[in-house]
Symmetry: C2
Subunit: 153 residues, 2 copies
DNA sequence: CAAATTTCAGTTCCACTGAGATGG
DNA sequence: CCCATCTCAGTGAAACTGAAATTT
């Protein structure tokens, strides 16, 4: 009985129904699926967000990129280094402002982005498999309101 | 305009509406609130879960505790060490199975747990502030289905 | 012998902090 | 002088891995 209830449940009932707990579990699940998917495509999560920001907003400084994709300034450096190595983006000094590196996505970069889009879409599908599309929309709506609220930031 | 749209939005639009992204953002927010709340009460997240599991299921071996509260066997050791130091739990060898340490929550432990319950409740409230109680129930319902599904585990 | 438990040491991943150097 | 940018080094939490020692 001990072991049965332990195996079935997901921790103390006090915790199992907690919004923060459920959100965190779902996040761990989603992150795992994304990491596996990205790894199979040979990249990591940060870099998808960087490529997506580059395609959507065009060439940008590393600082601007970091803000747009919500990645810490410090972490942008290494991620861009890697993307440059893979030929997915180019880094060039801004002639008009010597402080900036202007990052531009390459053709190979946009191609890679398309490939990753497929991965991302299929992960959403896998994670939300038990939900109808109406439920999925509702979930997105609720979570959007939560994260837009941003308690103390 | 560049900076305005960057400041307003939460990353590339392609990403901003993604369930995995929203879930992850909400998770980061919730974890931050919980960590701050627990820190103010002088504990950490693991230990709340351990105390809650102990109160709910009664005395248990460290391995069983770890399974019930979904904490890795290795991490249980240090967490219990700390709880013992604080007098919130007791550790004793199981007379019937020399491999096991039987962990029991103390009166001080249950008192601490009550205090932490308040913290946890207020964090839920803060995180979900923008949602009505019907919305909160709906969110819990949807997320429960997602985490129960457990794609590949 | 196999299996479970406790424990230690070390790794990985993510997010962040602090500080130095360069340039506007 | 002040500020933004880029970069590096390092910190901290959470989750996990591998292996040894003990006991069933």
């Amino acid at each position: 009985m001990d072991e049965a209830s332990a195996a079935a449940g997901a921790g103390p009932s006090r915790v199992a129904q907690l919004p923060t707990w459920l959100i965190n579990r779902a996040s761990v699940l989603g992150n795992r699926l994304l990491r596996e998917g990205f790894a199979a495509a040979g990249l990591h999560g940060y870099k998808y967000r960087l490529l997506a920001a580059l395609e959507e907003f065009g060439p940008a400084s590393q600082a601007a990129l970091g803000r747009r994709s919500m990645i810490d300034r410090s972490d942008v450096v290494a991620a861009i280094d890697d993307l440059v190595d893979r030929g997915l983006v180019k880094r060039a000094r801004d002639p008009r402002d010597g402080r900036r590196n202007v990052i531009t996505i390459t053709r190979a970069g946009t191609a890679k982005l398309r490939q990753l889009d497929l991965v991302v879409t299929s992960v959403q599908d896998e994670l939300l498999a038990p939900l109808s599309s109406a439920d999925r929309r509702e979930l997105v709506r609720l979570l959007s309101r939560v994260v837009e609220h941003e308690p103390r930031r």
